[in-house]
């Protein structure tokens, strides 16, 4: 009697596995209903919402500056870029121009955040594929970045470091030196990790040709950020709609060719180097002057609507702000990059193996805080 279920189990051709929400490599509370035939994936159905906190509803009761801490908690590995998008949207709607020093500070912090976010990605992606050690190397570097954040704004993860109209504080004395010291030693570390992974035959076998998505499909599925660039589309908000002072710095937008996991890996590694390049230029040019524009004490944008997006580490992070002229947003919608990138997951893994599923989740670099909001 007891054996019947095992027998049924053995006879079944398809098996449905519930992957998550407590699975070690679903990067949070993602749940995937995976239909497999042996180890081959027939279909994947993502189930999300375990971390839904109603952020957009909360925005509707907060003052504009009060919204900023809430954005920290969406993509919690990249709080600075989240802040940047929100304040950018409000500034666009109010027509505020921020002082150049504030703009450069924002760029420095945002690029540091991009490094930190990519480090988390590399750490967890490598861990998913089975290499434990890069995790610790990456987190060591990330901690140095978080130290810089802590020195600047007092928090390491949920920075809340921007205000409508500029930056709340100026840099502490010596911050630029420490930042420069960090970015000078950083590229050598990237090379170390690349020696560990890039040419490694196991790493290549695990990533080349896995989770392929063509350029046309990538656009169709709305991918942005490294997943789009990995497919060979040279498209970056920083270049297309430059915000802050991105039009004044030089940097390249790396692209891949095949749109597979390996290309996305290479793109992100190169983006880290480009970020270092941007930070170096910003530190050289960092002008003196105020860090806060003249803004009214109570921020009341005019009636109207605006969409403003930044190139977050995960892709295009957009804020759609509808104002009725009050001191709280009438509606503040977030266009989360991860949410939309995750949607392409079933398309990318269908027909591949369970081990690839893990690799593709890692390469999409999702953060459930942003997906569920």
């Amino acid at each position: 009697m007891e054996r019947t279920h095992l027998k049924a189990f053995a006879d079944a051709e398809e098996m449905e596995i519930s992957f998550g929400p407590q699975h070690p490599s679903t990067h949070g509370v993602l749940r995937l209903m995976v239909k497999v035939d042996g180890e081959r994936i027939l279909d994947v159905k993502p189930i999300i919402g375990y971390l839904h906190r109603g952020t957009e509803k909360l925005f509707e009761r907060e003052t504009y500056n009060g919204c900023i801490p809430h954005t920290d908690r969406m993509d919690y590995t990249a709080a600075v870029t989240n802040n940047q998008g929100l304040v950018g949207a409000v500034e666009r709607l109010m027509g505020i121009t921020i002082p150049p020093r504030a703009a450069y500070l924002r760029m420095i912090l945002a690029e540091l955040q991009r490094l930190a976010s990519h480090l988390v990605w590399l750490a967890t992606h490598a861990l998913d594929i089975g290499a434990q050690t890069p995790y610790f190397y990456c987190f060591e570097e990330r901690d140095k970045i978080l130290d810089l954040f802590e020195e600047y704004c007092g928090a390491r993860l949920t920075t809340n470091c921007m205000r409508v109209g500029g930056m709340p504080f100026d840099l502490t004395p010596g911050w630029t030196d420490r930042c420069r010291a960090f970015i000078e030693q950083f590229p050598a570390k990237v090379s170390d990790w690349e020696r560990l992974l890039t040419k490694n035959r196991i790493w290549r076998e695990r990533t080349v040709g896995v989770g392929v998505i063509s350029a046309a499909d990538a656009i169709e599925w709305g991918l942005t950020g490294p997943p789009l660039r990995g497919s060979g589309v040279r498209w970056d908000i920083r270049k297309v709609f430059p915000y802050d002072r991105y039009d004044e710095v030089e940097f390249d937008v790396p692209i891949g060719t095949n749109g597979d996991t390996y290309d996305r890996y290479l793109v992100r590694m190169e983006e880290m180097r480009q970020s270092v390049r941007i930070i170096r230029q910003c530190l050289e040019r960092l002008p003196d002057g105020p860090v806060m524009a003249k803004v009214p004490k109570i921020i009341k944008p005019p009636k109207g609507e605006v969409y403003f997006s930044v190139e977050a580490p995960k892709g295009e992070l957009g804020y759609y702000l509808v104002s009725e002229g009050g001191d709280t947003p009438y509606r503040l919608h977030v266009r989360p990059a991860c949410f939309i990138n995750l949607q392409a997951l079933p398309e990318m893994v269908r027909g591949q193996l369970v081990a690839d599923l893990v690799a593709v989740i890692g390469t999409l670099d999702i953060v459930l805080g942003e997906i569920d909001r």
Binding site: L6, H23, E39, L127, I129, R206, A355, V358
Partner: protein, 339 residues
């Protein structure tokens, strides 16, 4: 009387050393991994963390032993036993030193015995994965079966290379031949050593071939549902198997208990200052080096995928080991082997 007592004492000693050694291997592994990962590792229990292994064992002893409600109870219980017993059994024939004191027994088909017994261990994994009634465990068990089939064959051929060179299946004899020839077999058999060690890593389910447990894919693989002492048996079995593979590599390719350059430096080893060093010291040193290699691998490499692992086994290691066997056999034929 001595006929019974001395082997019994030896068995007890070997088992104790082995189990304690396996327990402490976990400690060393954590330490080495931590140092590779610029951490300190366990250093709280006891002086410098030296009691960590004991604490872990104690924890596992007192931990609640869960059996999934709809599992195959008997097989579920049998699996950990199946994995640890063969791993321990192998040590019956491994020679730690030249004289009879340093080994339990010397049988003339020791190599066959080792290969045969150690492959039984895989059944523990397969059965454990199947009987847990967990999909992740089942997949872990299936992967393990595939791995077993793919890697037993090239490993066998790698070992045969040594047999061709030594002309014997007795482990003692193999070491003796290495001493007589004055050259350890890793030099003529470098390819065989490589194949053997890769297969050994795969057989023990260690990184980069740790697919059956593959934590980031299958949660815990075949031992997802195990806890407490049953789980500890899996763990002990894994580490005991590592010791087995390392010990075999030492015996087959690195001259077992022989000190480095036994003939060239013979006067040095005869000096009273070093002559008191018992032969097992050299043996254990070499084993430790191999085990360190295991841990170094774990700290460096990503994990292979299931189909890639099979491809590596069948398409690379098998032809390489076969070709190598032919070359070595030819060499032995030309140089006047001793068979």
């Amino acid at each position: 009387m001595t006929y019974l007592v001395i082997p019994l004492v030896k068995i007890v000693v070997i088992l104790l050393v082995l189990i304690l050694g396996a327990a402490y291997l976990t400690f060393f592994e954590r330490k080495i991994l931590a140092y590779i990962q610029i951490r300190l590792g366990p250093n709280r229990v006891g002086p410098k963390g030296w009691l960590q292994a004991i604490a872990d064992a104690l924890k596992l002893f007192v931990k609640e032993d869960l059996t999934p409600a709809r599992s195959e109870k008997f097989v579920f219980l049998l699996a950990p036993v199946l994995i640890i017993v063969p791993a321990l059994l192998v040590f019956a024939v491994i020679p730690f030193g030249p004289s009879d004191i340093w080994r339990l027994t010397d049988i003339n088909v020791a190599l066959l015995f080792v290969l045969g017994v150690s492959s039984v261990g895989i059944y523990g994994i397969i059965l454990g994965g199947w009987s847990s009634n967990n999909k992740y465990s089942l997949m872990g068990g299936l992967r393990s079966a595939a791995q077993l089939i793919s890697y037993e064959v090239p490993m066998g051929f790698a070992v045969v290379t040594v047999v061709v060179m030594a002309g014997s299946l007795s482990l003692v004899r193999i070491v003796e031949v290495q001493r007589e020839l004055g050259v350890w077999f890793f030099l003529p058999g470098i390819v065989a050593l490589f194949v053997y060690f890769v297969c050994g890593v795969a057989e023990t389910n260690r990184n980069p071939f740790d697919l059956p447990e593959a934590e980031s894919e299958l949660v815990g693989g075949f031992h997802t549902e195990y806890s407490g002492m049953k789980w500890a048996f899996f763990f002990l079995g894994e580490y005991a198997n590592m010791i087995v593979i390392s010990a075999m590599a030492t015996v087959l390719f690195f001259g077992g208990w022989l000190p480095p350059f036994p003939n060239l430096l013979a006067p040095l080893w005869a000096l009273p200052a070093v002559a008191w060093v018992p032969p097992p010291f050299w043996f254990l040193l070499k084993v430790a080096a191999f085990i360190f290699l295991y841990m170094w691998f774990r700290g460096t490499f990503p994990r292979y995928r299931f189909d890639q692992l099979m491809r590596l086994g069948w398409k690379v290691l098998l032809p390489v080991s076969l070709a190598n066997l032919m070359v070595v056999a030819l060499g032995v034929l030309i140089l006047g082997g001793r068979s």
